[in-house]
Symmetry: C2
Subunit: 230 residues, 2 copies
Amino acid sequence: MDPRATFPVTPRTRAGRKPERASYDRAAAHAILDEALVASVGFVDDGVPFVIPMAFARQGERLLLHGSSKSRLLLLLAQGAPICVTVTLLDGIVLARSAMHHSMNYRSVMVLGTPRELVAEAEKRAALERVVDHVLACRSLATRPPNERELRATRVFALELEDVSIKSRGGGPIEDADDLGLAHWAGVIPLGIQALAPVPDPLHAPAAPTPAGASSYQRGRVVSAREVQP
Amino acid sequence: MDPRATFPVTPRTRAGRKPERASYDRAAAHAILDEALVASVGFVDDGVPFVIPMAFARQGERLLLHGSSKSRLLLLLAQGAPICVTVTLLDGIVLARSAMHHSMNYRSVMVLGTPRELVAEAEKRAALERVVDHVLACRSLATRPPNERELRATRVFALELEDVSIKSRGGGPIEDADDLGLAHWAGVIPLGIQALAPVPDPLHAPAAPTPAGASSYQRGRVVSAREVQP
């Protein structure tokens, strides 16, 4: 087996509760990271935990984060602060016959580590392109690239994919045997992200036509009814 | 003005960067919390930040979290650990003529504090009902309530809504004047949560018909094209 097919299990990523929901599969983690649009980035400031939503991208075996040179998080990162980046895709609501077996279907990835700043201009430019292309494929080719001033005002950090774990749940409700006869409906409401028709810049009509990738924007897989069948 | 209409600004919730995106409006925070299905809960364990996705609910002026009595987070909470609960609703992708002005439209709420355990049985039961009803209105009436064993195996914590802040972005791209003539498309791809047709428990066909709230499940507002017009 390819030793790189799974992330190593570390004391920090070893599953405690519900180990059946945990996985360390590298390709599966990549796929979840690539599908998610927003990451929840956790850090500690003066002993207090903070979680903020951020745009991000995966570039090979690392995650990219960026922001204003003046942002609090980026100043902490520059000092070598450890972070936790968690992304979560919500796939459905699980309704059970019993209140306690209600659940969610989801796929989440947690990445722990200490990001390193990218300072070389070429590397920084490539990373910022990747962040734009994460949102819409090839978008960086159809936009003005960062200029010198913008590059200086932006810091980019890379977090290696080393301490990585997946948690997920799929399928229908899991009930106590005694509850199966109860006259309550049980099943799954599948959820996905829906993109509506693009809205051109309302202040300044764009000179270019709406790109095809925007008109038919699709993010990841909408879980189909078929997938929750046994 | 009703002093309770806004949350007090504290050193921890005062906006640093982009204060125009910050708000402390109580009703708006309630609405975002009520629309979100998953919270990103941040905590510190041995100096390391962790962020995990959790189900939650708002009950008046507090958030409710629950979990297995044996979970790591809940053991930390029982010791009085501070947490950060952040929810984020993604409303759209903002494509600009310049790479650096790409953005996201979103609404997020961050709640800081130290949760308190609910131990009285009646209070615990009411909280667990609220968590189920958060996902689907009145669902707790159509499901078997927790029994004694389930109640004992579950801990419930309440986090007061005191240290609360909103961050949000809406509208179209904000461009540099020099870029407005560029021949790149610019605008917004609105995003929302889409619910598909409910899938009955594939292992044991439910005895009850699909509830109307599941068949026509709607979560919050799908941002319509009209809303990003000026």
